[in-house]
Symmetry: C2
Amino acid sequence: MRRSERIAIMAKCLNDYPGRLFSLSYFVELLGVAKSTVSEDLTIIKEAWQAQELGELKTVAGAGGGVRYVPGLPGAVKDSLLEDLARQLEEPDRILPGGFLYMSDIIGDPVIIDRLGQILAGLFIDSQADHVVTVATKGIPLALATARALNLTTVIIRNDSKVTEGSSVSLNYLTGSRTIRTMSLSRRALKEGARVLFVDDFMKAGSTAQGVVKLMEEFGAEVVGAGFLVATAEPREKLIEDYHALLTLEKVDEARGKVVIKPFKAIP
Amino acid sequence: MRRSERIAIMAKCLNDYPGRLFSLSYFVELLGVAKSTVSEDLTIIKEAWQAQELGELKTVAGAGGGVRYVPGLPGAVKDSLLEDLARQLEEPDRILPGGFLYMSDIIGDPVIIDRLGQILAGLFIDSQADHVVTVATKGIPLALATARALNLTTVIIRNDSKVTEGSSVSLNYLTGSRTIRTMSLSRRALKEGARVLFVDDFMKAGSTAQGVVKLMEEFGAEVVGAGFLVATAEPREKLIEDYHALLTLEKVDEARGKVVIKPFKAIP
């Protein structure tokens, strides 16, 4: 097999499983070449991807070592993706009665959501989280994409009690609009001591996020990071302390059909 | 740039956007080489991936032509993935009161779900569908993965009427357990004449699937295929005519703690 053929295969393997540690022996066996050759091939992939800002191949030294791919997007792509998304969400016909924004088309687009998940993942790369947790329904795609990029699994909290998931822990919480809602999670979904990232599509005051923090406490789990597709500028003080968002919703003027939404400033 | 470097980059681009048509000019511009060189590089990737059964690079001739990647898994990987999954789901401690099976851990694992989505996508490759439709909550991950592999978007039907998605169409339907449930979808989620695939995690009699077919009729849309992670062997006659499943649940014996589940026979 030629070097270029081996690289086509190795690049695909690494890209298919972000975050997974591949031992050099894995590729030695798969491709039938010497370890030193695999090592040279990996260096080529690493440098080519790095030059295009397509993420990083991280080498882990030692007996249990190998190489893992940490996804990344070129800075310019990241910026234009968020700018484009902000412009799309500012279209007046997205305004729904009550000042909500229609976002379901974006949430259902795997190409967009995958890249947004990669951006969020980049912010949580050092969080040492075990899972990405979300609350049904609209946060699920972004949570999955974030988990995918971090090589984690997703835990979905249901917003009903009609769960067919065995014995579960439920929590009633008060939403920003003063409605009582329930969130519910199967007892077996999390292990004691788990570290979780909370990912959702939207945050206003943060009552759902606060509910998740409390529910996690019931499991002996800890929320070590929170990320949202959109967070509102107001109220400035949220019910959770630290969070990341991809976009900030500054204003929805339902009467004038005007929306102001911008890329979140704290995004590095 | 060396051939091996170009291939590392092209392989990643194609793999990142399954189903998307890349023109040769796109790579010519990105990599600064002649069209004939890009063409040779693509042939190398195509043959390397084909040899490993990693899917297909399809060439579209003509002015608007280019190349697109159709994901695929090696037959042996597909078989062992489904066999492993069946064994996992047969673990007695997955049995929940009422004879349900706990599957949330599998549904929340992006690595497994991505590959299951690729298998389902392979069955629907010629469906000319516009969207993948699912019903919240547990079908969402598989629907997204299937949509991703087919370069489609996902449309999520809610199972409540608390939707913040503007005016919507709701449908009441009777579940297999004789409960009345509601499904609801925003009016703007689908265009008249849309062709959709329905993907869900589980089907018993098919009452949800039948509900989706009816709801789609309200939108002037057509269900052109249905795929499930698990379908039960009984009742043999389902409320929808054609469907694919990845696994068949033959028996749950709650008293004896015995589950029998097998890869779906009709999978090619």
